[in-house]
């Protein structure tokens, strides 16, 4: 497998999956409605995967994104409700409270900031304590989930007015898809055209070398996790908007889909390799696959098995290709 075919492999797989289900379920799969559905569902995953791309290219991993999504959603919602002047009784009992636009924008920003802060904490723990990203984010994954449950004793916060990120449109295009597009373009641009992007690759390729070359390795790593957190904060509000509530159980196991999308898109789990275009393709591949399996009537349990197998396959393909090259 040469470099070129390796790059094309995820894209071809995506085409294959779309063609397969177009053939299998032409009436339900290959419709405008379904495609729009898949795209909007991809928005949250894609926005998170944009951050995860940086994390994985820099040789790290962030397992906490799923829990962070739930916690940021809870924080964003509760701050909207609080800003509207609702009492804790009204908030915790899930009463319908009208929200103004200002409050909704404010809550969204709070969620993004909360995510950035969570990512910042991940990054600081990893660089200051010199702990493995896997361990740190495994820990914070549990912590964020716990906090989410504690915030309202395991119950959701209701924000039924907050729906623009779900149903709103900008020039006919669903607003969440527009945000996905903006995030991917910005993140992709930064990865390719700025020193920050180069530092990300250098750290993942050889952290010692990067340090010896004068790269502020710790700062860049903290920035990467913070950025990922901010993206999770945005994704959290899209999820909240879609459900009209923020659930403490949101994003359970979502890290699997995100990491899978990034790896399938060609990022090497050992760092130093990957592109944002690959991540987009990987995200759509997972979304279409899940959508197709659902339409064909296969349960979420079966989907887990299929996605797990695909991760292993993608990594194996990467290893084989790397070995061939050397």
């Amino acid at each position: 497998m040469n470099k070129f075919t390796k790059r094309l492999l995820p894209f071809c797989s995506l085409i294959f999956i779309i063609s397969l289900w177009t053939f299998l379920e032409p009436d339900t799969f290959f419709t405008r409605q379904n495609f729009e559905n898949v795209l909007t569902r991809s928005a949250t995953n894609g926005i998170m995967a944009a951050g995860m791309t940086y994390v994985i290219i820099a040789g790290g991993i962030d397992l906490s994104v799923g829990s962070m999504l739930a916690m940021c959603g809870m924080i964003g919602s509760v701050s909207m409700l609080a800003m509207s002047g609702a009492s804790w009784e009204q908030i915790s009992s899930g009463q319908n409270i009208p929200l103004s636009t200002t409050v909704m924008i404010g809550g969204t920003l709070v969620s993004i900031l909360a995510g950035a802060f969570c990512g910042f904490v991940n990054g600081k723990l990893i660089t200051k304590l010199r702990l493995a990203p896997f361990i740190v984010t495994l820990g914070t994954m549990s912590i964020f989930r716990g906090v989410s449950y504690l915030m309202n004793n395991g119950k959701p916060f209701a924000v039924s007015d907050y729906e623009w990120l779900d149903i709103g449109r900008i020039a006919m295009i669903p607003s969440s898809v527009v945000f996905l597009f903006l995030v991917l373009v910005a993140a992709g641009f930064m990865l390719k055209f700025t020193p920050f992007g180069r530092y990300t690759y250098a750290i993942g390729s050889n952290v010692e070398t990067a340090f010896h070359a004068g790269v502020g390795v710790n700062k860049v790593q903290v920035a990467i996790y913070t950025l990922t957190g901010a993206f999770v904060g945005l994704a959290a509000m899209i999820t909240t908007s879609r459900a009209s509530t923020s659930q403490p159980t949101a994003g359970m196991g979502l890290e699997l889909d995100i990491i899978a999308a990034v790896i399938i898109g060609g990022c090497s789990p050992s760092g130093g390799k990957g592109t944002m275009v690959g991540t987009i393709v990987g995200t759509f591949l997972i979304s279409f696959l899940r959508n197709g399996l659902t339409i064909s009537g296969l349960s979420a349990d079966v989907q887990l098995i299929v996605i797990g197998a695909i991760i292993v396959l993608a990594v194996a393909a990467d290893q084989v290709a790397t070995k061939r090259q050397s």
Partner: protein
Amino acid sequence: MENITGQLRMEQISKSFGPVQALQNVTFCAKPGTVHALCGENGAGKSTLMKILAGVHTPDSGNIYIDDQQKTFTNPKHALDSGISMLYQELDLAEDLTVYENIYLGKEIQSSIPFLINRDAEIKNTADLCNKYGFTINPNSTIRDLSVGDCQIVELLKALIHKAKIIIMDEPTSSLPEAEAQRLFKIVRQLCDRGMTIIYISHRMEEVMSLADEISVLRDGEIVTTVNAKDIDVDTVVKHMVGRELKDFYPARESNPGEILFEADNLATEEGIHDISFNVRRGEVVGMAGLVGSGRTEVARAIFGIEPLVKGSLKISGQSINIKHPRDAIEHRIALLTEDRKRTGLCTNLPCSWNMTLSNYNEIGMKYLLNFNKENQLCQKFGQKVSVKWLSSQSLANSLSGGNQQKLLLGRWLMADSEFIIFDEPTRGIDVGAKKEVYLLLNELVNQGKAILIISSELPELFGVTDRILVIRRGRMVGDFVTKQTTPEHVMHLAAVENANE
């Protein structure tokens, strides 16, 4: 295993790695009950010769005889079966296992119940062996809790369990404190008294002289001499080791140093170096000599902000500077070409151009945004300056040869407009032709008024290219000479021999 006495004869051994002739017709004999020291500079071929004996390398030609029987070793197990055991410089033990588990690793004693290990027998055998040789090591200790010296004894026990007759020790004292080294010498003598053949590689002359019965000196892949230790003194051994002619291999250069560019005053790090003071002038090449582990590299790391200084100060052109991170050093126009290009120099799976500009985005006006065209032009320009050969600047760095990788890195630092450049072992692992090119580049840099510090284990190299030589031993400066006014023998003597008078 057969009963052997440990009489060893290696005849007419030759070995080359690619274009490099590592050993040429080397004949080497060692007798049972003696310690045979093998001396020579780095790269003289000592390790290669011993690795051939231990079955790690196979010779291109030549024969090995044990007790006059010809042997062919194609892997370490063959050598082990013939009673040959090598103790490497870097210890090779499983840190979390116990002493006896390490000793029996891969050759566990089976218990009468299938799939189980007879721990009691293993522990008992280990304890018996310790008693026999008077080692005070608990078979149940975990390796992690042992001192380096004790770990070496565990390695030795491994060899003894194999009933090794010929034991090769490669620089066993390089990381040992004095007391543990003394204990090791006693053990070596004891093994020898029990009729074993010990082959001992060391750079430390005083220990070679006190320990060895016979001494062989290797230089450039050939045996220069083999003598009785009684009949030779340190100076003669050193002379044999470095006695190479300084051919016109090193390109000539006019030396006219300018003003002082870099000053280090009383540098000290947590552990490693103490009271290091020196200066380097513009247009001057200063060499730093010392054994591996003497603290040479630590000096470079401290200057470059990799290891924090606990004491001392640095100056550039008379101005005090504060360096806490390599970034600070680069901003003060200091560059470090590290000795391990793969580990600390290059991102080998990224393009050459990325590697070249990695340190310099501020310097080339791309602080916030990259400009691919300009980047490529700069890489072409600096690539030509250092005459690096690549398919294109977009090729991956690992597609280059060692010499070209070194040039690529030099290109990086020229792009950063570095004034004071530290080379740590600049010619290690690159072939002769590329070496010469590196020296020519070095001369060019000096002629442009840059100041250069070059750390090297190869004395001929230091004598061939430097104006001054600093000598480091055990983290301290023990010499600062004008190159022309000293000799390789003197420098080697200072670097390798403890002297009570100092």
